[in-house]
Each structure stands twice: as structure tokens, then as C-alpha cells.
Amino acid sequence: MNRLLHTPEGVRDLYGNDGRQKELLTDVILGVMNSYGYRNICTPSFEFFDIFNKERGTVASKEMFKFFDQEGNTLVLRPDMTPSIARSVAKYYKDSIYPVRLCYNGNTYINNHNYQGRLKETTQLGVELFNDASVSADAEMIALTVEALKKAGLSDFQIEIGNAGFFKGLIEQNNIDADLEEELRVAIKTKNIFKAQDLLSELSISEEQKKLFLMLPETFGSIDKISPIKAATDNTRAQMAIERLEALDALLKEYDCEKYISYDLGMLSKYNYYTGIIFRAITYGTGEAIASGGRYNNLVSQFGLDVPAIGMSITLDYLMIALDRQGLLPKTVKEVYMVAFSEGSESDAISYAKKLRHQGKAVSLSCVSDMEQVKENLISVSEEVVEVHCIGDDTEVKIYRL
């Protein structure tokens, strides 16, 4: 066994057809993002640990790849793109009075446990929209996600949308302390009603309030399932959370994507990072969300600029797994033209290749020692080749189509 040929667990090579498919999907998705007016931003692969720590990130500290620079600063391979982009916005777009739309394409690194069949390096394609707190910004973000997934080839998927504001409103109203809030959050998030019942039974709050908490894990589906809950609470923050979802739903109908949308009031994020709607895209063939996002109005202010923000990212690797299992990966076409020439015909071959490249074709130029063998063994040329053009001693170019 040659150890030099192994990659560490959780990272992989992508080549040949897979690599091409990834490239195609990236182009399609970035194309959708560009068509909504988002412009590319590149940030470094590693930054200071503090950028991603505490409430600024969605990944626990122990799951980050950390190392030191020569001055002893702790550096981190980015586990998530959003904090880096929030930092950039606070630095470069301080004076912008208009919304700022940025998109990115980069790899992120999470040091998760071995033997879980999870990648430690994944490619994220995402967008961030700053300086726009409106519900139409929320709708744009979701419509963009739907369009990107559709253009990528997916047809059977759901975007589920939640709003942490409802849960937070109930917590505030009942003065529930942070420890219990956390336990309740986990119970509701995992739809564990009996656990939630246990936790609530120790509290001295009204039966109606308890009932509201217990409704959360069960309240998911279309907007008609969510709206009636509004009447059941008198908490303004909770009511506003539902009104926001109703307004969002109306706009999403304008975008014609209601078919892909469902709501879940029990969807709560583990991190305090999100302040408004949160959402994730799910489909068959992968137990993991293929895209996720939400509103995070407090993040950029931690870098010194107080602007609202909402973002979304697609994990390209999980999207490709889902497309593969559903048989929907894009077909790649053979598109390389191989120009074979024998020694001595370099100048003819180069000018011939130039001509083809000028026509927009991909040309691979190969000097061969035995032209007859190439003609006989056309099968053995690289799998991307569509035509072989042989330039020999005779003036005529022989073309073989595969």
C-alpha cells in the first residue's frame, strides 16, 4: 500500500467528469446570483480565530481547524463564509447608503468527527444582502435559492422557513432563564414534545402559555397552519414574527415559488446568530440540508457597522450528492478537439490549432511518434475528446469523429 496516494479523511480529489460537473453547476448557480445583481467577493481561506468565535459564527470552536502564525495569533481555516464577508462589509462599505449585494464561491473547513461519512472540506456558493431589512429582501433571498436549485436541475425540493422571533417572544414574556431556554429550544427543535412537557411542568406559567410552547413542534406546513397561532398569543414580538411570515408568503407567490415553500415555527437555530427568518432547503437522497440561510441583523455591528443583513449558502457537495442520487446531474458533453501531428509538422499544427481555438473550440495538441497507431486506436484517446484531427506529411487533414 502506497501511503503517498492517500488523502486525509474528509477531503477528496474531484477530477474528470465529476470535476466538470462541479464546474458546470458552479457556473449555473453563480449565473443566477449575478442575475439578481450580486457581485463576487473573495476573502482569505484563513483568518483570525476571533472572526468566527462566539456569536459571530455557526460552528463550534472545537470543530474549527486552528493553527498559529509566527507571532502566536490563533488562525482558523474558515468554517463559514458569512463572518468574513460581514467583516469586509464593515471595512469597505461603511458609507454605502444603498443595499450591498455580494456573492461568493469558496471552500469551508469543518473539523467534524471521523467515521461519520461527512466531508471536512465543502464548497459553498452563497449570497449576502446588507443594508436592507425589508420583507422583500427576505423574499428575494428565498426566490433566489429556489431559482438556483431549479436551474441546477433539482425539481423535488422544499424550502422550510421558520422565524425564531416567535419563540424568543414567548421566552421574554414568561421570563424564562437562559439555561431553561436552551433546553426548551433543543426539545422543540427536535420535536420532542414529552421532553418539552417535562420542562414546562416545572414552570409556574399559565396553562395557555404552556400550550403555545407545546404547539411549536407541531406547527409546520403551509402558511394556513401558521396564521391561526397569531390569535393565540398577545405577545407583540411573537405576533410580529408571524405577520412577517405572512407578508413573506404573499411576496413569494409573486415570485411563483409557493410550491417549494413550507413553514415550521419549531425550526430554531442552535446559535443566537440569526435574528429573523431562518430557512433551509431539503430534498430526497441526502439527510443533510443542501442550502440554508437566514437574517442576522446583529452580526455586522460586531465588526463596527450597524447594518441589517440576510444571507444564504448552497453546499455544492451535498447538492451534487442529491442530484446524483436522483439521476439529475448535468450531462457533460465531449468537447475537446485533439490535433495530432508528427514531428516536423509543428508549424502547420500550431496554426491549425490557433484557427480552431479562434472558433471557440477546445484544442489539445499532441505530438505523436506513430500516426498510424493513433488512427487505429482512436478508442484509447482521453474520454473528453470528440474529434481527432491528424496532421501528417500529406497536406490534407484527416478528421475522425468519435
Binding site: 461519512g117 423535488d156 422544499q158 422550510e160 427536535t190 420535536k191 420532542n192 414534545i193 414529552f194 421532553k195 409546520f220 406546513g221 413550507s262 415550521d264 431539503i282 430534498t283 430526497y284 437522497g285 441526502t286 439527510g287 443533510e288 440540508a289
Partner: protein, 218 residues
């Protein structure tokens, strides 16, 4: 129609679970054949598939969506810590997760002394000693016959499942502290719950009705 796949923890629990599913009209004839060597059992009419797995693996199958629904003990769910929806307490297979040991070891708990804890459930043990008792301990992972450890001096105490406590007593050990009551649970994959919400919700609802009926009869 897509299959909805059940992962059941092998053994007594699987039989009890199938019994309860039977009460709500979900059968699998293929499974009743005791001598079968099949790994996966299908009910074509209802579009359901069933398989048996080692208890510890059930949450893994469900988390990754290889199974949509799993039936497994709370001990395994707590130990594995997977991302799942926990939707029903079957109220069967009831027992307790306990700290046990010779009576003389009771004073060591919460004393601040570094003690050794043998267990099949290192995550549960760690969580209990670190976060509840605030005691630093050395965890020794074993794979069976945990009661042996304090008898032969491998550890001071053990963390293990206790049903009646008779094995403990026969070996001169006692329950020193109860960590959490346990029972069998129904868990659901987070994606399946939404993508197949109608069919899965019907199963959950049916199961809850069976559980209520059984609780009322007790």
C-alpha cells in the same frame, strides 16, 4: 410511491415495536418467519420497508436518511447525540440509566476525588459527571459485563442501564444515583419528516394513539 423505511433495534424492542405497529394496522408478514436470512423486509401494499440493526446504529441510519423512522432506546439516542426528531415515547422497554457500585463508593460521588468510571456509554457518563456533579473522572469504555469492573478493581463505579437491579445485587453492587429514566422512542429523519410529511405524520399519529390506548389500559 417511495418506500418509507423503518430501522428497528434488534431484539426484544423490535418485537414490541412490531406488536405496536400491528395494533395500528401496519404488518410485515415476511418478518414473522423466524428462520429467514433476509436483511430487509417489505410490505409492498403499504410501501413500507423494515430492517433490523444493532441498537447503536439505528440513530445513524436515521440521521443520514437511510431509514426514515427508527425505533430505539433513549439510552442510545442520548449516547449517539445525532440530529433527529424524537416524536414518540413508546413507554415500553422501561429502565433507568444509573451510577452503580459498592455502597462504600457512594461518598466518592461529587467528592472532588478523581475516580474511575466504567461504562458502555462514555458520552452519557461524561455529561453526568462533568456537567451535573462537576467532578473530574476517568472514563473507561467497556463493551459488556460492566458490573465486573468495580468487583475486580478496574473502576470505582459504573454507569449502566438498570432494569430490576437483581444482577447488581447478586454481585454486591447498589444503585448509587439515578441519571435518567429510559424507554423506547420513535425517531424520524429531519428531511423525511418534511418531504413525506403526510405519510409520516399519519404513522406518528397512529403510534401516539396506540400508546395512549395502552397507557389507559394500564
Amino acid at each position: 410511491m417511495r418506500y418509507i423505511t423503518f430501522a428497528l433495534a434488534k431484539g426484544r424492542l423490535a418485537n414490541k415495536a412490531m406488536e405496536m405497529l400491528g395494533e395500528m394496522g401496519i404488518f410485515c408478514e415476511e418478518m414473522k418467519d423466524k428462520d429467514t436470512r433476509k436483511l430487509i423486509f417489505v410490505n409492498e401494499e403499504l410501501g413500507l420497508r423494515f430492517f433490523l440493526a444493532k441498537a447503536n446504529d439505528v440513530p445513524t441510519y436515521v440521521e443520514y436518511g437511510a431509514a426514515d423512522i427508527g425505533i430505539v432506546g433513549l439510552d442510545t439516542i442520548l449516547e449517539e447525540g445525532r440530529k433527529l426528531y424524537e416524536v414518540a415515547d413508546l413507554n415500553v422497554g422501561k429502565c433507568r440509566m444509573c451510577v452503580a457500585g459498592p455502597l462504600s463508593a457512594k461518598e466518592l460521588l461529587g467528592s472532588g476525588k478523581l475516580i474511575r468510571v466504567a461504562t458502555k456509554y462514555p458520552n452519557i457518563a461524561k455529561d453526568y459527571f462533568y456537567n451535573q456533579l462537576h467532578q473530574t473522572v476517568e472514563i473507561i469504555k467497556l463493551n459488556g459485563s460492566i458490573e465486573l469492573a468495580p468487583i475486580v478493581g478496574l473502576s470505582e463505579v459504573i454507569v449502566d442501564i438498570v432494569e430490576t437491579g437483581s444482577t447488581l445485587r447478586e454481585n454486591g453492587l447498589e444503585v448509587l444515583e439515578e441519571i435518567v429514566p429510559l424507554s423506547a422512542r420513535m425517531v424520524v429523519n429531519q428531511v423525511s419528516m418534511k418531504m413525506e410529511s403526510e405519510r409520516i405524520n399519519a404513522i406518528i399519529k397512529g403510534m401516539r394513539e396506540v400508546i395512549e390506548k395502552r397507557n389507559a389500559a394500564k
